[in-house]
Symmetry: C2
Subunit: 306 residues, 2 copies
């Protein structure tokens, strides 16, 4: 699909397994880091793994971006170790798009899980990186940044959130980034059109994201079951299909694409292990666009001057 | 409705406003703490408010339990200051039931927001209180307790979670409480039949709960709109009504009742400000049952011996 869109794709892996896929350039890698493998030690030991070789291809300029749907931790570690950090960035963060029903672009939440513990300074960098990404990817000219807390009022939150709130109020980073700090947001705002970027530590971000996914899955599962629960229900479902189809599209995570590791010196898109062909094609499209627009260059410009 | 069930109800508030409600005993209170008012100072200053008088009625034995649907923070503060803590309890916590589709009882998550910052010791007490509550309220004989984290594996989590994990592994509290520690759970397990009690700090608990509520609201809202979006859809919706009705009941928070403040020396049920009559009647029923079963006595017995 990506090839049909005119995007040059390089495949990384075992040549004998990739030869039948199509007419693509292949970077050879003999090892595969398994889905459940421990990330750091696997990346250290398996130097000829596809994840490590893919990150090296970006570092060496053989590829402009990397898209993976494997072991998330290993993809992060390989990207970080081989591409390195952008100068000035303390910690890379995973930025995940979250569907906002009725709006053309999603919310970007970061960190969605790369850093369990964070400092307030890092959260400000997450805000900057998220805003640059949101603008480059979805054309939001002046992204609104919200800080995830347990209440909307200033003064609400953990010590980390309170300190981050004060730092985020500073105009200097907002002006340099071309973003606006919109204050605290709550869990219920994750899918809401309140802000464009949601900043949080990797622990809270992971819990919030998995909660949202879990609830959506449970609800949709129960609904699908109900639609099929009797002949009468099936007839009703048929009549409702035209009304439910756009809803399915709207809430389908595949439509917003995968997560990205922001802060490494290269484009690294990290897709779900269970990515559909459509999700992967979208991820490749996104990787291509971000490389074209030189998003990493924008991040360098804004973050190095700190 | 509660009166129909044979539960004696005492109303607290302005007598002139309560006289028309029915044949209930009235405890007079001239002041009302507004929904948005600052909790601590309001409780301190408004000594004749309905929330303060209700908590006093429990303290003084005029009532066996208190049910409120007003300012959550003020209800917590009034309960804490007037009823006091159970001896041995470091901090009371809000325990919120979360629907588990297909299971007769919900998960209990605590702390859902009373304590933004927590210590690992408190989390163990939350585990004990949640387990006792789960058994008394839903008859779960040996509740399974999960610790909310950003991964299921043992070493995953913030420093707080890691320390709490170690303490929760200790058999002594499990034996005394009659509960089992089931390890870490993730956000996606909030509505799942993995455990019966989910322990977390009040910051994370608040974010997770509001995320779950937000996603459910967005999804159900979109669904309801789709069902009404055309004449064809409306006909389909009519055919589906028998299949969707139980689902609506299952996911309706009113069916599991309100939150409870565990650790204060009395029963204090804290309902949503937007509680329906059905939700309030359920809350009164729950308050009655917990008073009958002497849940506070069980908590005293298990927590004082620490």
């Amino acid at each position: 699909m990506a090839a049909e869109r005119g995007i040059p794709v390089v495949l990384v892996g075992r040549p004998e397994q990739l030869s039948g896929v199509g007419d693509f350039e292949v970077v050879s890698a003999s090892q595969v880091i398994a889905m459940g493998a421990e990330a750091a030690s696997s990346v250290r030991k398996m130097k000829d793994s596809s994840l490590v070789r893919a990150a090296e291809a970006v570092r060496d300029g053989r590829a402009s971006a990397m898209v993976s749907a494997g072991n998330t931790g290993a993809a992060m570690t390989a990207s970080l170790l081989r591409m390195g950090r952008i100068r000035g960035v303390s910690r890379p963060a995973i930025a995940t798009p979250i569907i906002v029903p009725g709006r053309a672009w999603p919310n970007v939440m970061l960190d969605a899980g790369a850093n369990t513990e964070c400092s307030a300074e890092w959260l400000v960098q997450f805000a900057q990186m998220g805003a640059v990404y949101c603008r480059d990817r979805w054309g939001v000219q002046e992204p609104r940044v919200g800080l995830l807390s347990n209440g909307e009022e200033a003064g609400k939150g953990s010590p980390l959130v309170k300190e981050a709130f004060e730092r985020l109020e500073d105009r200097a980073w907002q002006t340099r980034t071309g973003a606006v700090f919109a204050g605290n947001v709550e869990g219920r705002d994750l899918l809401a059109d309140q802000v464009d970027v949601i900043v949080t530590d990797g622990f809270t971000g992971n819990v919030a994201l998995k909660t949202a996914e879990g609830v959506a899955k449970q609800l949709i599962g129960a609904l699908v079951e109900a639609l099929d629960s009797s002949e009468e229900a099936q007839r009703g479902a048929k009549l409702l299909a035209p009304a439910l189809a756009p809803l399915y599209d709207e809430f389908n995570p595949d439509s917003v694409g995968g997560a990205i590791l922001l802060g490494v010196d290269g484009v690294s898109i990290i897709s779900h292990g269970a990515s559909s062909p459509r999700a992967l094609a979208n991820a490749i499209q996104v990787a291509y666009e971000l490389a074209e627009r030189n998003t990493v260059g924008s991040l360098r410009r804004i973050l190095c001057s700190d």
